[in-house]
Amino acid sequence: MEGLTLSDAEQKYYSDLFSYCDIESTKKVVVNGRVLELFRAAQLPNDVVLQIMELCGATRLGYFGRSQFYIALKLVAVAQSGFPLRVESINTVKDLPLPRFVASKNEQESRHTASYSSDSESQGSYSGVIPPPPGRGQVKKGPGSHDVVQPRPSADQQEPASPVVSPQQSPPTSPHTWRKHSRHPSGGNSERPLTGPGPFWSPFGDAQPGSSAGDAVWSGHSPPPPQENWVSFADTPPTSTLLTMHPASVQDQTTVRTVASATTANEIRRQSSSCDDPWKITDEQRQYYVNQFTTIQPDLNGFIPGSAAKEFFTKSKLPILELSHIWELSDFDKDGALTLDEFCAAFHLVVARKNGYDLPEKLPESLMPKLIDLEDSADVGDQPGEVGYSGSPAEAPPSKSPSMPSLNQTWPELNQSSEQWETFSERSSSSQTLTQFDSNIAPADPDTAIVHPVPIRMTPSKIHMQEMELKRTSSDHTNPTSPLLVKTSDLSEESKINSSVKFPSGNTVADGYSSSDSFPSDPEQIGSSVTRQRSHSGASPDNTAPPPPPPRPQPSHSRSSSLDMNRTFAVTTGQQQAGVVAHPPAVPPRPQPSQAPGPSVHRPVDADGLITHTSTSPQQIPEQPNFADFSQFEVFAASNVTEEQDSEAEKHPEVLPAEKASDPAGSLRVAQTDGKIEEKTAASVPANVSKGTTPLAPPPKPVRRRLKSEDELRPDVDEHTQKTGVLAAVLAPQPSIPRSVGKDKKAIQASIRRNKETNTVLARLNSELQQQLKDVLEERISLEVQLEQLRPFSHL
């Protein structure tokens, strides 16, 4: 047969007729009896009918396939419009009215055709979705009253269910029951006692309980038979849950009936309102949906990821395009995951679709996921709003106003969460500003590691971060637009928090550094979740702060400290060195408190000398584990002191720091190269001691330090013994150096030395960081290369 082009209305009408005729639910072949009935209803002479059947090829094939059926319908229309029946006429005759099937269907069908062509009547259009033929049976039974039209759609709703569902039920009984059901609401008579639904239940058995529940549910809700579909759709027959609901639904039925019988007008209105709101989810349905949700995702506040949802809904055997559309409708926040509400909406839409409803263009209000728990109030609010609403499921629900209050109420919460999101981003951005080096550390707190500049820690925000993570998982569906709603209202709060945090952390820098390490990792999480929000909402990145910089890895910093310091300690413990080279971590003021008493104590004691100094050194080492062993300084100081019995005690504290700083380094250096260091140390010792040559001391130090920076990293346990001998050798010349420097100059020189040491420390740190940066960049480049290789089609 040649191809047949149908307009949309024709397509719809024909498919409805086809499904009506398709009582055996084969979707392929129509029962001949029904088709003939239909054609007879077209009020065409018999020979025309025969001609049509011949033309469409049914006589040839012996049955009516879908295409044959459609062609036949088109030919009926052609015939009814008075055109000659020819094969070509199906396509050539344009603007054909829809075929009219009158006969026993009388005004039902005409109403239908009218509705199809006009597509304006609310009820007509609504019933237009449903195959008209079910009404035929009713018309036969009862008068084609207006009342019947209204209940018929509800009957119609159930009608398509039976063809669609796999033949577990007994279809022949359904028309009877439909008719019974339809009569029950009309006129408000309770003619139909419970016995009506009674036999209805028994034939359908397990799989049908939903339908009975649907009987009562009709007045309120539309697709009760979905429960039948659940059996075939979801592989888990909800029989038990639904069976238990029978008594309840029976109760409902009686109550519904008594209420309905109050006034016919009310009944009809209720019918119309319930008919007009086919998307309402019944409690049983909702319960079922929730159960299904929990099988996928046990946490009711969590999400179902897109892939799991895809598998689940694919089981329904709906075409992917329709599933895709359902997803678009139901994923309210467009996050690629379904919350409980979204899942129920999606499930409901799938069920409705399986029952023959067309999918709406927009999500019906009753299916809107309730962002806050307004379900009851929203539903109550929706009901009055929907009276008289032309709510064909195929048409979008026009009134958004009932849902707007519910949506509006969600904004405050969104705002709150957005504020919290905002605080996050603010926090993360402010954390960036806070990752500054606390330059006050050195003089303020000599006991802490001065080697590495310490970013300021932000402890309260870490707690906040955990809170935010919890919040995000629970209320993520409210967040999609939160970046869009981001306001900087909390900026001031954040700054206050940050400033308050700063102060305590300034004092405890040592552990502040470790916590600051963990902190940056959290903002990365948050940054990524913020990014996630950003990405799926499509908001511009301007609203959220860029992710914080990667955490500075502590080992690299500790490297400068631990390697050097540890080596220093290991090397220099118990050794005395006249090292004068500035030690990287050394900060002169540090030794003051501990050293000041030292020399003064030991000054009068010459004999103790080394022993006493070494005894003090262990004290210092635990106190300042990162620092050089000051025993050398003490030795040096002691040795110097022993030389001069003058009261230059006050000078010593100032000198000692510098000397101390240099001593451990000097010891190291001695270990590295023998003669060279000795010379230099010897040279620098007098340089340190004599004010005139003090300025010379610093310059050689950095040079030497850089030379030795790599060397220092290497462990050299073996050189300890070397150092001991060298130390003694170095110390020997020291006592002979005169110390005739002015106090002021000493102080200035000491401070200069200190600063220079700090500078060198920082410079070294900088070089190490640069090295790390280079390494990271190299890694990045290599990763990019790998990525490019993995992309087969990339040609750019």
Binding site: G306, S307, K310, L323, S324, E328, G336, F793, L796
Partner: protein, 139 residues
């Protein structure tokens, strides 16, 4: 305001193309196809080592006497091409940018749909509606 809107995949086949039906659609298809070369040229010129800094909005790709063609590329090398009537002088660059941003957002929503396989033609009704709204403004 657009006369034709097209979404091109990374491999340069169309995922979605739609033009105002009153015009000769084939001509627009051809224009979009030729614009792909310009897009590629712009991408490769800019994004050598600075992929991050590359601007997503490519701007005017090339003008013809009747039409102007604008381009936009995403980070995953999906290209949006928009053909605009030259007589529409009121259209400013910002408006074009905002239209592309809307396109990008809708495209992202399409991507979020698990039932959408990347590389398929875009059949999302929501996307259609959004594109229609952008094109209807021309009239």
């Amino acid at each position: 305001m657009a006369v034709c809107i097209a979404v091109i995949a990374k491999e340069n086949y169309p995922l979605y193309i739609r033009s105002t039906p009153t015009e000769d659609e084939l001509k627009f298809h051809y224009m979009v196809h030729t614009s792909l070369d310009v897009v590629d040229e712009k991408i490769s010129a800019m994004g050598k080592a600075l992929v991050d800094q590359r601007e997503l909005y490519l701007g005017l790709l090339y003008p013809t006497e009747d039409y102007k063609v604008y381009g936009y590329v995403t980070n995953s090398k999906v290209k949006f091409v928009m053909v605009v009537d030259s007589s529409n002088t009121a259209l400013r660059d910002n408006e074009i940018r905002s239209m592309f941003r809307k396109l990008h957002n809708s495209y992202t929503d399409v991507m979020c749909n698990p039932f959408y396989n990347p590389g398929d033609r875009i059949q999302s009704r929501a996307f259609d509606n959004m594109v229609t709204s952008m094109m209807i403004q021309v009239c």
